[in-house]
């Protein structure tokens, strides 16, 4: 598995798209920091980028890589290799190279800006950690979609739809549900609703840092426990890990049974 991972990783490192992705984040970081000159504002903008763009790129890139390397995969399958290690190696290769672009692309400008001396280092590391988690989750989801769909167009369509659903539509439905049932105590429901969507989950994690004063304005014991203590942070990280593990398990399961 490690060999395949290494191969996929180097293959992607050489590819144009990784550089474009890396350059994009580098540029974004530089523009935000050196033209804006305001760290708090930069962190807010970065949050928006991370919870919208990272999932999108993760999905598209994952689906694209799978379809592009299909012939190579078929070649590998002819060798005496475990199927799970082939697919997991490819998945990790894509996810890790994307995460690396993200971390380096954003990290370098911030490092030059003097982040280590500033108090925003925790907010910033949290951003990078959630960004990495989102990459892992959405690449895994993309591999799932690609594995289940032979048709490229269909696969891309589903991938985009998945992103659109989790990034926008889900929140709309969520908001409508909350408004519809406003006469009932909703704090548990709203927290569960957040846990079921990785984008919302990462958003909540960042809100814990940025908007804690507004969040504490709401009455409700569950809310208070969740946001007022480290409980929220721990639960969110556990849920993010679950969100990585489940799709990856499905990749191995699906890969075992699939006919090529």
């Amino acid at each position: 598995m490690l060999k395949i991972l290494k191969y996929s990783f180097y293959d992607l490192m050489r590819s144009r798209w990784s550089y474009v992705y890396f350059a994009f984040y580098l540029l974004l970081g530089v523009v935000l920091l050196f033209l804006n000159n305001d760290l708090s504002k930069a962190v807010i903008t970065l949050m928006n980028v991370i919870i919208i763009l990272v999932p999108l790129i993760g999905t598209i890139f994952g689906v694209m890589y799978y379809y592009n390397s299909k012939e190579f995969t078929e070649l590998l399958l002819a060798q005496p290799l475990k199927r799970s290690s082939i697919f997991l190696g490819q998945y990790l290769g894509v996810a890790l190279s994307l995460s690396m672009s993200l971390i380096l692309g954003l990290g370098i400008p911030f490092m030059f800006y003097g982040l280590f001396k500033s108090s925003a280092i925790w907010d910033f590391s949290l951003l990078l950690i959630t960004g990495t988690f989102l990459t892992l989750i959405f690449t895994a989801l993309a591999f799932n979609i690609a594995l289940s769909n032979e048709n490229k167009i269909k696969g891309f369509g589903y991938a985009i739809l998945l992103w659109l659903f989790l990034a926008v539509i889900y929140d709309g439905l969520f908001l409508m549900t909350l408004i519809m049932f406003e006469d009932y105590p909703l704090d548990k429901l709203s927290l569960v609703g957040t846990m079921l969507n990785p984008i919302d989950l990462s958003r909540t994690l960042i809100l814990l840092k940025l908007d804690i004063s507004a969040l504490l304005g709401y009455t409700g014991a569950v809310f208070k426990q969740f946001f007022g203590t480290n409980f929220g942070l721990i639960v969110s990280f556990i849920m993010l890990t679950v969100w990585v593990v489940l799709p990856v398990l499905r990749i191995t399961f699906k890969a075992k049974k699939k006919d090529f």
Binding site: E182, L186, L191, T194, A214, L215, L216
Partner: protein, 411 residues
């Protein structure tokens, strides 16, 4: 004229020879403050030496100056009120007063001033108290450099740090109040000046006005209180250069204004509060040169607020800048800096070319269904906020800052 001067000089000389100094210490002929007061004549000075004096119900009924040397301890042993001043021209300086009795029928205080003028209370340290300094029906006094540290947990069985009741023209400066119910409380008290105080960790309010007019408070710090400052049912209050910080919680505000008219709020800083200013039924107030940083809501307007002016304030990274619960607006917003402003300035005059709408649709939704706060900063919310911005339906459509600043304001 010359005669008059010499006459006054003569009187001063005479009084200084008549006024005596009485010393109180454990081994002195006079070993209690009560005895010293009964033996003293008008305008005498009583010096209390270091030691512990277990006394309560000390009544100062003549103009005296009481000075503690090296903070002598007056221990009330939780039996009741400790010092009561009922004469004019009394000075109390440098005492350490502890263990005031708690009662549900009487407001026992560490030091109470009753119907007196020209009193001067300074350098006291009060601990384990019910009420701290209680000033009733008095005027022209000064309360300087006191340190009041209570141990209040619940509102119903705790008292206030400094309380003014039907008093006039009192100056309260450089006091440090902590862990009481209300740090400083003014009821029916006019023309008072409250300056350079630090009021923190109080159960209810850092500073509280009720039915008090023409008061000024400036350069104070209110941190981590149940709510920073509550100004209620008062007129013409001036609030300058105060710091309101970290008042977090469900019903927590930096400042709460209720039925306030003609006030001035200038140069204050509101930082990390759940609600910076909560306004209800307040009219003709000028908000100028204030800075709102990282608050949940910078300003929450709850109706019946007319002709208020918000001019040249900084709104920096608040989750919500302004929240309204109706779509009627009669207040003016002008020349503020909003960090959430996304417009442009093509003519380079420092003023954004597109007006800014500080009220978002989402703040209206959160007002209705508080749980939706969990969707804050979601992309869907940004989209509906944008559509509301383009054509306002739920938020007041004339609530605009027509001259939003491009750069943060400095004064």
């Amino acid at each position: 004229m010359k005669h008059l001067f010499s006459f006054i000089a003569a009187i001063l000389m005479a009084s200084s020879t008549i006024a005596q100094t009485i010393e109180v210490c454990k081994s002195c002929p006079i070993s209690s403050l009560k005895d010293a007061i009964t033996q003293a004549k008008d305008f005498d000075t009583i010096i209390v030496k270091k030691g512990t004096y277990k006394e309560y119900n000390i009544i100062i009924n003549k103009p005296l100056t009481i000075i503690g040397k090296k903070y002598p301890v007056i221990d009330g042993e939780l039996k009741g009120e400790i010092i009561t001043i009922i004469s004019d021209n009394v000075t109390v300086d440098g005492l350490f007063i502890i263990n005031v009795g708690t009662s549900y029928t009487e407001d026992y205080a560490a030091i109470r001033v009753q119907k007196s003028k020209n009193f001067f209370i300074q350098n006291l340290v009060l601990e384990k108290l019910f009420f701290g300094i209680y000033i009733e029906k008095s005027r022209d006094g000064k309360v300087f450099h006191n340190k009041i540290i209570g141990d209040a947990v619940e509102e119903y069985n705790s008292g206030n740090g400094i309380q003014l009741w039907y008093s006039k023209n009192i100056q309260i400066e450089h006091n440090f109040v902590q862990h009481v119910r209300d740090g400083i409380y003014l009821e029916f008290s006019d023309d008072c000046l409250i300056k350079n105080n630090v009021s923190t960790l109080n159960v209810r309010y850092g500073l509280h006005f009720m039915f008090s007019n023409d008061d000024t408070y400036q350069n104070n710090t209110f941190e981590n209180n149940g709510a920073g400052v509550a100004v209620m049912f008062s007129k013409r209050i001036k609030m300058y250069q105060n710091l309101f910080k970290e008042n977090w919680g469900t019903a927590s505000y930096g400042m709460l204004l209720k039925e306030i008219n003609d006030a001035e709020i200038i140069g204050n800083i509101f930082e990390d509060n759940t609600i910076g200013i909560n306004i209800e039924g307040s009219n003709r107030i000028n908000y100028k040169h204030n800075t709102f940083t990282n608050n949940g809501w910078a300003i929450k307007v709850k109706g019946a607020c007319y002709t208020n002016k918000f001019i040249e304030n900084n709104f920096l990274y608040n989750s919500f800048d302004i929240a309204y619960n109706s779509n009627v607006n009669d207040n003016e917003f002008n020349k503020n800096y909003w960090s959430n402003y996304t417009g442009y300035d093509l003519d380079k005059n420092g003023i954004g070319d597109v007006p800014y709408r500080p009220v978002k649709l989402f703040s209206y939704i959160v007002n209705r269904t508080p749980e939706t706060i969990i969707l804050l900063r979601s992309m869907f919310i940004d989209i509906i906020d944008f559509s509301e911005k383009v054509s306002p339906v739920f938020t007041p459509d004339d609530l605009l800052d027509n001259n939003p600043q491009i750069k943060k304001l400095t004064w």
